[in-house]
């Protein structure tokens, strides 16, 4: 994607405008407006079914796989380019916007093959290039030291936390600008969770993170900005300190204090 660089592109790197989204006749997002800053870590919070995952999965258009899903109106722009315009090639969009899923799901292949999967489907065959990319991405995901001696053993033999970091390595191997994470620690124990959070903190500035989380403490610990979703609408979006310290909206306050059901 060739992107026009505007003066305030940093402030409106990912720009969601009046975004309405539906599964068949069931609308799940209503007039969502959201500006995400370049290189920020943004947390999307809210009760289950509030539409935060749907929004996340619309940013790399992976929700296109859901047959009945459709954009009703509005737009999502990255660097000013509307993702749903016909000129956007969804394949190159997804190469630029990596995604890590809730359930760590490396392919039952070798660690190496998992790390270079994205490069392989992009048609890269050069052995050195693949090996270099594998090492680089495994280092980024803080997994290299643990797996460098067994790159060719099966990835399903790793622990849960290692498998999730391998999934992060797999996503960063394509050198995306944006990393979407859909509850990346929901299936992990507290120790593995802490390692992932450390990793995200270390990678701050290298990628623009958008993270869906149910863990309020996690949002507080890692996010620069937090957006609170309720029933398909953005209730409040602000600096994380503001959201948790001084929420403007009654709904936000009752959610973060655990009184919203």
């Amino acid at each position: 994607m060739s992107a026009p660089q505007s003066a305030n592109s940093d402030a409106r790197f990912i720009q969601v405008e009046k975004f309405n989204y539906a599964y068949a006749d069931h609308q799940v997002l209503f007039d969502v407006d959201l500006n995400l800053h370049r290189e920020d870590i943004t947390a999307l919070i809210g009760p289950s079914g509030c539409g935060k995952s749907t929004l996340l999965r619309s940013i790399n258009r992976i929700n296109d796989l859901v047959e009945i899903a459709r954009v009703v109106s509005g737009s999502i722009k990255i660097d000013g380019v509307d993702l749903y315009s016909p000129e956007v090639d969804v394949i190159s969009l997804r190469r630029n916007v990596g995604m890590v899923f809730q359930k760590y799901n490396p392919f039952p292949r070798s660690i190496f093959e998992n790390a270079v999967y994205g490069l392989r489907v992009a048609g890269i065959k050069d052995k050195w290039e693949l090996e270099e990319a594998a090492e680089r991405s495994l280092r980024i995901a803080a997994l290299w030291d643990e797996v460098k001696d067994r790159l060719h053993s099966n990835a399903t033999g790793l622990s849960g936390g290692q498998q999730q970091r391998l999934c992060i390595a797999r996503a960063v191997a394509l050198q995306p600008r944006i990393l979407l994470m859909d509850e990346p620690c929901a299936a992990l124990d507290p120790i593995a969770t802490a390692r992932i959070e450390d990793l995200i903190a270390q990678l701050r500035g290298q990628f623009t993170f958008v993270i869906v989380t149910h863990n309020m403490e996690q949002a507080k610990r890692i996010a620069d900005k937090t957006a609170f979703f309720y029933k398909g609408k953005v209730v409040e979006c602000d600096d994380t300190m503001e959201i948790f310290g001084n929420p403007k909206n009654k709904l936000t306050e009752s959610y973060i204090t655990g009184r919203l059901t």
Binding site: S92, R94, G98, M99, F107, Y117
Partner: protein
């Protein structure tokens, strides 16, 4: 709502005592009924296997080295000549040996009997069944996996897909003799062939300049029979393949697509490799089915008797100074010719022995020998399938 029966006078020492005799009797009765039913099924199965082993094993095995009846497994079926002399001694021989034996006995000959197909061995049927299975599984795997992938990965849910699924299910219920007639009409009599001289019965012809595409059928041959059998096992393979594809986690597909793969790349790299073990296992069960069917090959491929193997065909010898191209063409024609021959097949051979010739101890012997070999072949296929599934499941788990 009925109240449970109670004792008129509850036992103060045991408040849980109850009048249980009727319920207990019902319980015992039901348990024995189910047990007897199961025992019946098991004993019938054991009886069938024992019957075949007792009658068939002596034909296939020998008590001295090499313990296997080599002749039975390596010779083509032939007419058996049974000659008896005046002392009651019985000599079994083939058509060539019969004259010599008769000459030697001279006036001592009491009687000679000939029994069709019961001498020699069953190599012809074994080879024929193997070739039919090869062709049918090749065709059915290609068509079956292709449509399973389309149904599972590409097709959008809707009325049309429901109709397709219903049609596949119905295909599984079609009697096999109907497939046989379909094969006769479609493959034996109408399938297209390249030929320079189309037959008169050709449905229609398309001239191509250098040759003609004539819809005159493939005749009764391995190809016709194999394609017909492929349609018999197709529903099994489609259904099983679709289940194997559905068993691959949806997350693999999403992850692959999120990493910039196209749908086909996703199928090829992140779905199919993990579904293949299951698809192969189920296709082995398809092999057992294809090997066992008689009706679909009766009109399309099988002969009651044939004194040659498919590759033992007379072909004009090449001239001594033939070019390499002529040699190459000659070998290709020869290879393809194997599949345009009609063959004997095990199930049809058993049917011939059991129902088409006068019954006696000699035909019965050949019949049970064939059934025994057939059973061993099918059972070993099923065992391979189970063994493969176990091994591959251990390898590809997620």
């Amino acid at each position: 709502m009925s109240t449970p029966p109670r004792h008129s006078q509850p036992d103060p020492a045991n408040p849980f005592a109850g009048d249980q005799t009727r319920i207990q009797m019902q319980e015992t009765l039901m348990r024995w009924l189910l047990r007897i039913g199961t025992l019946f099924v098991v004993s019938v199965t054991v009886a069938i296997v024992l019957h075949i082993v007792i009658k068939g094993a002596p034909v296939a095995f020998r008590s001295e080295w090499p313990f296997v009846n080599v002749k039975f497994l390596t010779e083509l079926p032939a007419t058996l000549h049974v000659i008896q002399d005046n002392q009651g001694k019985i000599i079994e021989t083939d058509v060539n040996g019969a004259d010599a034996v008769k000459k030697q006995l001279g006036a001592n000959l009491r009687q000679e009997k000939t029994i069709s197909y019961s001498g020699g061995g069953i190599l012809g049927p074994i080879v024929g069944t193997a070739m039919l299975v090869l062709v049918s599984v090749g065709v059915a795997l290609f068509l079956g996996v292709a449509s399973a992938i389309y149904l599972s990965e590409y097709a959008k849910h809707g009325k049309f897909i429901e109709m397709v699924r219903l049609a596949i299910l119905n295909l599984a219920g079609v009697p096999s003799v109907v497939f046989g007639l379909f094969g006769l009409g479609a493959f034996v009599l109408t399938a297209p062939v390249f030929t320079n001289i189309p037959l008169d019965r050709s449905v229609f012809t398309i001239p191509l300049g250098f040759t003609t595409l004539s819809f005159q059928g493939w005749d009764t041959c391995v190809l016709s029979g194999g394609f017909t059998l492929a349609f018999v096992i197709l529903p099994v393979i489609i259904t099983a393949s679709e289940q194997c594809l559905q068993a691959v986690p949806q997350g693999f597909r999403e992850t692959s697509m999120a990493l910039g793969a196209t749908r086909w790349q996703t199928i090829w790299r992140a779905v199919l490799p993990f579904a293949t073990p299951g698809i192969l296992t189920s296709s082995i069960l398809g092999i057992a089915r294809a090997a066992g069917e008689t009706a679909p090959i009766m009109f399309t491929a099988a002969l009651a008797f044939k004194d040659k193997l498919p590759w033992q065909k007379d072909q004009l010898p090449l001239p001594v100074d033939a070019s390499w191209f002529a040699h190459w063409e000659h070998s290709v024609t020869r290879f393809l010719g194997i599949f345009t021959e009609s063959v004997q097949a095990l199930p049809y051979h058993i049917y011939t022995l059991a129902a088409r010739i006068p019954q006696n101890e000699y035909s019965e012997r050949a019949q049970y020998g064939s059934v025994f070999v057939f059973l061993v072949l099918v059972a070993s296929l099923a065992t391979t399938s189970i063994w493969m599934r176990r091994r591959l499941r251990a390898k590809y788990k997620w």
